[in-house]
Symmetry: C2
């Protein structure tokens, strides 16, 4: 299976420009699964809820249409982060799309910093979805700091967990190595890069998108340039939970002792 990510710097509020950039980066790329950053179509630094309401879309909105067409054209699945509007609620969401339509939908549960003022914390369960026979779980950015989130997906059979992100702190890439290792799964971190300056606020995003194998090996980690990377993996490896011949780390979990 060929899996990869697009790392780029979205232009705030300029959806068409961001669509163009993604389409251009995918030109000549062949892959089964591509992960885009969190809020790839709008950028990150919303100054208030009104601005977010303006740019957010229902999950079957025009960003959905753009990605769906791209999936059909490229014959691949794409995970993308976007601001979701649903009955007046605003979520920091991600969708796993294939040529056939939406396969998976997730709303970020662990919001970061001032996101609490404009987004609602997600209400959908951590669920795995299947593409080409491979089980995939979705988390978004700051979710990475909660081991329970990815553990829940891994216990449900996820072989790959994707993490669209807009990272401003430097901890996540190394922490994702631990997440892969402790769950024996592949992880794809698709971060954005570049700066955003809006009003009095300014953020620098770190890039460092990466793919990690179930044994903790960093298969690829980039710096902070715009790029698309695709590698070939065998997702079946993620079904084997043995660290040593005598350590199936899932079977040896001690649920009798955890959390009480």
């Amino acid at each position: 299976m060929k899996i990869g990510f697009i790392q780029f710097s979205p232009v705030f509020g300029a959806k068409e420009k961001n669509f163009e950039k993604v389409e251009k980066l995918l030109n000549n790329i062949s892959a089964d699964l591509i992960v885009l950053p969190e809020l790839f179509n709008t950028g990150y630094l919303f100054l208030n809820k009104e601005e977010l309401m303006e740019l957010a879309e229902p999950k079957d909105g025009k960003t959905c249409d753009f990605i769906h067409n791209l999936c059909r054209k490229k014959n691949c699945a794409i995970v993308y982060g976007f601001a979701e509007k649903d009955e007046g609620n605003l979520y920091n969401s991600a969708i796993l799309m294939s040529a056939r339509g939406i396969i998976g939908h997730y709303r970020k549960t662990h919001l970061f910093f001032e996101e609490w003022f404009i987004f609602k914390s997600g209400d959908l369960p951590y669920q795995v979805c299947e593409y080409k026979g491979v089980k995939i779980g979705i988390l978004i950015c700051f979710d990475y700091i909660y081991p329970e989130a990815m553990r829940t997906l891994a216990l449900k059979g996820a072989q790959i967990v994707v993490l669209p992100a807009n990272l401003v702190l430097h901890f996540c890439p190394d922490a994702m190595v631990t997440r892969s290792l402790e769950n024996r799964i592949f992880t794809i971190l698709a971060d954005r890069t570049g700066f955003e300056e809006r009003g009095t606020k300014k953020l620098k995003f770190i890039g460092k998108s990466q793919i990690v194998a179930p044994d903790g090996e960093i298969l690829i980690r980039v710096d902070d340039d715009e790029c698309v990377k695709v590698i070939e993996i065998d997702p079946l490896i993620a079904l084997d939970k043995k660290v040593t011949p005598h350590n199936d780390i899932f079977k040896q979990r001690r649920e009798d002792l955890y959390f009480h």
Copy 2:
């Protein structure tokens, strides 16, 4: 509070030599809490259960006496790993000792590799104990790979989690940074160093003992030499679970979504 670790290469089966080495390393050292490696008194590579039965001790055995005397002499607390014999059962255990006696007792729950053939998996709960008003949790070596273990201790209020270890793989030191970060606690990894060659078996231990702060900063990490290191920390920092002013990562856990 002054906390530290001793990293050294125990001589297999030679308890008195190992006692001497620890006492010598602690000479001129002043600390509140010192952590010794896993199985510090016996070494690691037991060839069979009979050999382990011979060297294991009840928790109030002579190693306990040695450490208790050392705690009185140095006016400090010491965590040490040892092979425990209790009613015919053998555990890979650790004790937190002070000048007043035993404060904490833990039996490794997640055994590694061939340990499964000679030790029994621990049956005691993950419990925090208190020394000088600071809450301390104990795990041993491979327990590190299970986020649930340290999370359970942190949710019970642990400000410091100590990890006596005999590491042969290289993942643990970096994973312990994630553990500190996701729980906002101090972690002390006290690893052994050196080689062990017994029968046809040979192991190299990696050293890399370290202390990590609640914000993920590696306060000290050594290489693979024998040494004792002590640093000053403020354990109160570990009571603050805020990553940002709007992210109390404990209060924002989503127990409604984890593990189901």
